[in-house]
Structure formats: C-alpha cells, structure tokens
C-alpha cells in the first residue's frame, strides 16, 4: 500500500506538488495522468525517494519512506523509465540481475531469475541473455527494462511513461504483457502516462493531476461517466464521444422521414396504384387524424383484397414500431431480430414520424462514421 499524506514539493517559487494526498491499495494498477508539468513524474519519483517530499509524508505499507535508507528502499521497488536506461556496458543477463546482485543473491539464484523472466516475455535465454542492449530493438529493450524492475520480486513497480517512445504496435503488445504480468504476479504498479488510451486500458484506478494537484481519482468507468473537470473531459475527448454515441443515439436519427401513408378509408385499387407509382410494396395506414394504425402490403391485397373495399380491412397490425425517442440500439435490435424489412417510428401522439429500414440504418451508420453521405 502506498499512501501520500499532504505531500508538497517546491523548487524555489515553483510548486510542483501541492498538498497531494491519496492511497493506492496493494495489488492495484494505478495510472497517474495529466498534462506536461502537472507533477505526475514528481509524484512517482517521490515514492522511491529520488525526490524527497517536503513537507508531507509518503508511507509504504505504513512506513515513512524518509525513515528508510534510500538505496535499500529503491532495491525493493521496481523502476522503469521512458528512456529505458539499460546499462549499455552490461549484457541482457547482467542488466536483469543487477538488483539481485546488489541484494547479494547467490549466483545460481540470479541465473534462475534471468531464465524465468526471459521466458515470461518469450525471449529465449539462449538467444538473448548474452546480447548487449544495443543489439536489441526498442521494444525488446523495454521488455528487458521491465524485467530488470521485476527481478528481485519487488511488491511495488514504478513506471514512468515506459512505452511512450515505442511504436503503436509494440506499445500495445507491451501494454498487454504488463497487464498480464501484473495480474499474474499481483504487483502494485504506479504508472505515469499522458496517453488516456493507455490509462483506460491498463488502470484499476486513474489519478488525474494538473498543476500539482489531484483533480480526480477514480476507476476508468467512473472517470468516463463523470469527469470532474473540463481538462479531464478534454483528455477523455474521443472516448466521451464514443460512449455518448452508444447511449445518446435515438431512433429518430436513424429514420427516413419520407413515409408513404394511406388513409384507412382508401380503396384497394387506389392503394395498389399508389404503391406502383412510388415503387414500394407496402404502405403505412393512418386514420383521419394521422394516427398510426398499421401497414398494408401488396401481397395481402393481391391475395385477399377485393376491388372497391377499403384497405382498413387488410391492415397488418403486427408491424414493429418504436417511439422516435427510443434508443436507436433498441430499434436496430428489433429490426435485426425480425424477418421484417422495416420498423415504423412514431411520435409521442402516435402519428407517424418516419421509418427505419435496413437501408436507412446502413446509411445512418455510414454518416456517423464518415460524415454526410450523398444519397
């Protein structure tokens, strides 16, 4: 467990951390995020005393870090940085076993650790242990950087934008790996980033900082639903729109407004004539006040219809309907689950607002994805 209690850090007149307090329970993946200069890296470096809090106290498992020897403290906390920081004069194996050696583990224990860790990231010992960092790709180097931090099985690992300098594909695979490793080895990880994608993907809890203060500390879900400051909203940008789209789209946004209606009192031949003219095979039947009654299809009239009779007799009332303010997803679910080709959209007063067909759905989705489409 990591606890910050009223931690402040000033450099001259500049306040980098301003009375910061929070607690990260053991086994949690905490992501600290915020704009440049918000104090996120300072927060991280205060945990292993690379920066000393003043005033304020940082506790690790209830012990004040200032009461501990900084060198001993750091050996018990994993540390990964953006620039990777592998020692270029040491081989992969030597880099991984740096901390175990500092802790005076026996030689064969160091070798076993290197073996196990390299297996964990799918880099065979025989192929990689004796290479120098300069012989590895950036992604491989940072894998080794992470392994070096894990080598002495520290319960806490600090990561300062560890994947920031990697290409997107490598970054994603390393994110998956670190999440898997964290779950498997049950580490407490404090991870600094400025990338909200990364934060949402990895975090159990997100700590959002700005100007040396914590603006919000919440689970990813909670932050998405209730961002507590405009800057958090702008960081979430794309993600809010996405989730907004899922919930906010109404049936009316998917519907076609031009609906071919016919009065219930219309005669069968007149209706067929109208369908022929409009090139449709069914019509929406309404009463004199424009209220929706049902639909009538050309097949029904042809099969049962008699010339001169009002179509009111042949109405199909089983046609699917939705209210225009219903969730679009509901309408689509109905449409896809049935064998029908359309859903009628009604206004609150049960007059006809529009129609959702399979074609109009595709068009609306296309517009949502790529903007206005010419029809």
């Amino acid at each position: 467990m990591i606890e910050f209690r009223n931690v402040t850090k000033r450099y001259g007149a500049v306040t980098v951390l301003d009375d910061v307090s929070f607690t990260i329970p053991s086994g949690q993946f905490a992501v600290v995020i915020g704009p440049s200069g918000c104090g996120k890296t300072t927060t991280l470096r205060t945990i292993n005393r690379l920066i000393e809090p003043q005033p304020g106290t940082v506790f690790i498992d209830g012990e004040d870090v200032m009461d501990q020897d900084p060198v001993q403290l750091r050996r018990r906390i994993g540390y990964v940085i953006q620039q990777i920081g592998l020692f270029p004069n040491m081989t992969v194996e030597e880099n991984i076993s740096v901390v175990p050696k500092l802790l005076k583990y026996p030689k064969d224990a160091c070798a076993t650790i290197t073996h196990e860790l390299l297996t964990l990231v799918d880099m065979p010992y025989e192929a990689y242990a004796h290479k120098y960092p300069s012989e590895l790709s950036g992604g491989q180097q940072q894998r080794i950087g992470v392994l070096r931090a894990l080598a002495a099985s520290p319960p806490i690992v600090l990561m300062d934008e560890p994947f920031g300098a990697l290409d997107p594909v490598t970054r994603e695979s390393l994110q998956e790996e670190i999440k898997r490793i964290q779950r498997k080895l049950k580490k407490t990880i404090v991870f600094v980033t400025h990338d909200m994608d990364e934060a949402l993907r990895l975090a159990d809890v997100i700590i959002f900082m700005d100007g040396g203060k914590i603006l919000q500390m919440a689970t990813p879900e909670e932050m998405l639903h209730k961002p507590q400051a405009p800057i958090i909203k702008s960081f979430l940008g794309r993600h809010i729109e996405e989730s907004g789209a899922k919930e906010g789209m109404k049936a009316q946004e998917f519907m076609k407004r031009r609906v071919h209606t016919v009065l219930e009192s219309a005669k069968t031949l007149e209706s067929i004539e109208r369908m022929r003219k409009r090139e449709v095979n069914s019509l929406v039947v309404v009463d004199d006040d424009d209220h929706y009654l049902g639909t009538v299809s050309i097949e029904t009239i042809k099969a049962k219809g008699k010339a001169g009779r009002a179509i009111g007799e042949y109405i199909d009332t089983t046609t699917l309907t939705v209210n225009r303010h219903d969730d679009a997803k509901e309408a689509l679910d109905k449409l896809l689950a049935s064998t029908q080709n359309y859903v009628i959209v009604l206004n609150d007063d049960r007059t006809v607002a529009g129609i959702i067909t399979r074609t109009s759905t595709a068009k609306a989705m296309g517009q949502a994805l790529w903007g206005e489409i010419e029809s």
């Binding site: 690379l50 060198v71 750091r74 620039q83 990777i84 020692f87």
Partner: protein, 199 residues
C-alpha cells in the same frame, strides 16, 4: 646498438611507470571533480596551469626540490600527464546520459556502486583517449631527462648534439617517433574495440 636498446628500455620504463601513476591520480581527480563541482573547477584550473609551464623550467624547479635522477623526471611526466586524463575523465562523466544515472539510482546503487558498475565502464574509451594523448606527450618530454641526469633516448640525442653528429641525433630521435606512433595506433584500436557496446 646495445647502447640504443638500453636507452630505449630506460625511456619506456620511465614513461610506463609515470603513466600508471598519472592515470591513477588523474582518474581519481577527475571523479572528484565530477562529484564536487566547485572543487572540480579548481582541480582543472591547477592542471591547466601546470601544463603551461615550459618543460625546461619545470624540470629546473623540480630538480631543486627532488635533486637529480629518474624520480624527478617521473614526477615531471606525471604532472604533464594529469591534464589530458583529468579533463577526459571529467568530461566523459558529466556527459553521461542523465537517464542512465537515473536508472542506476533508481535500481538502488550507491554512489560508489554507480561509479564502479556503470559510470567508469562507460567512460573508459574516453579516459583511454586522454591516456593516449598523455603517453605520446610523455615519450617526447622524457627526452629532456638527460638534462637532470636521467637516462633514456635523450642521452643518445644529447651526445649527438655535442659531437655535431647528425647520424647519432637521428638514432636517438627516430625511435621516439616510432614508439609514439606505435602507441598512438595501438591505443586507437583499443578505444575502438571498447566503444562497441558503450556508444
């Protein structure tokens, strides 16, 4: 011929022992300069002043204190060798990438461990560069040894001058040049090999 071999041997021995001592002292001073910034600028300034004293004058001064002989010559060589080695050591250390120092601190190395395991190993190519410059300088400065009763190739050259014998002068001078060129080449190769992983 025998005289030449003896003189060359003496010459190399004086230079060798002076360089070993100078390297040890200068690397230590370079590290000190790296650790203590203010003291560092004083150390480097002093080494620079020593460098500007003409070798004849320095030898005369040292002779007054230490008398005649090889020891005095050795001390002069050490003094002249300090600057290039201190400066290269110090420059290499302060120019190490800060993230490596951060990583070394972050994994829990003490200051001495950082120096021994990371900083010095990474600076070795540049330190060797300093030693190379000092060594090549020393080979030619050691010729002056004849003036304060020390041996070496200077003795042969000096005899040649006294006898106005150009051949003798060259017999003394050419080995100095050849040895200097050889060490320059050999050290360069060594540097290049060591640079492979550290750059």
């Amino acid at each position: 011929m025998r005289e030449l071999l003896n003189a060359t041997g003496e010459h190399l021995l004086i230079v060798f022992f002076s360089m070993v001592a100078a390297s040890a002292i200068a690397i230590a001073l370079g590290v000190l300069a790296y650790w203590k910034r203010r003291l560092g600028s004083v150390i480097i300034a002093l080494a620079e002043i020593v460098q500007t004293i003409p070798s004849l004058a320095l030898l005369a001064l040292l002779m007054i204190v230490f008398g005649l002989g090889d020891v005095t010559m050795g001390i002069a060589l050490i003094l002249y060798a300090l600057l290039p080695i201190i400066r290269n050591t110090h420059t290499a250390l302060i120019e190490l990438p800060p993230h490596l120092i951060d990583a070394a601190r972050g994994v829990g190395m003490s200051r001495a461990q950082r120096l021994a395991k990371v900083e010095i190993p990474l600076c070795i190519p540049m330190i060797l560069g300093g030693i190379k410059v000092a060594l090549v300088n020393s080979l030619s400065i050691a010729v002056m040894g004849v003036l304060i009763g020390s041996g070496g190739l200077g003795y042969i050259i000096y005899r040649g001058i006294q006898q106005r014998n150009m051949g003798r002068i060259l017999i003394g001078a050419i080995p100095v040049v050849v040895i200097a060129l050889f060490f320059d080449w050999a050290m360069r190769r060594l540097e290049r090999r060591l640079f492979r992983h550290t750059s």
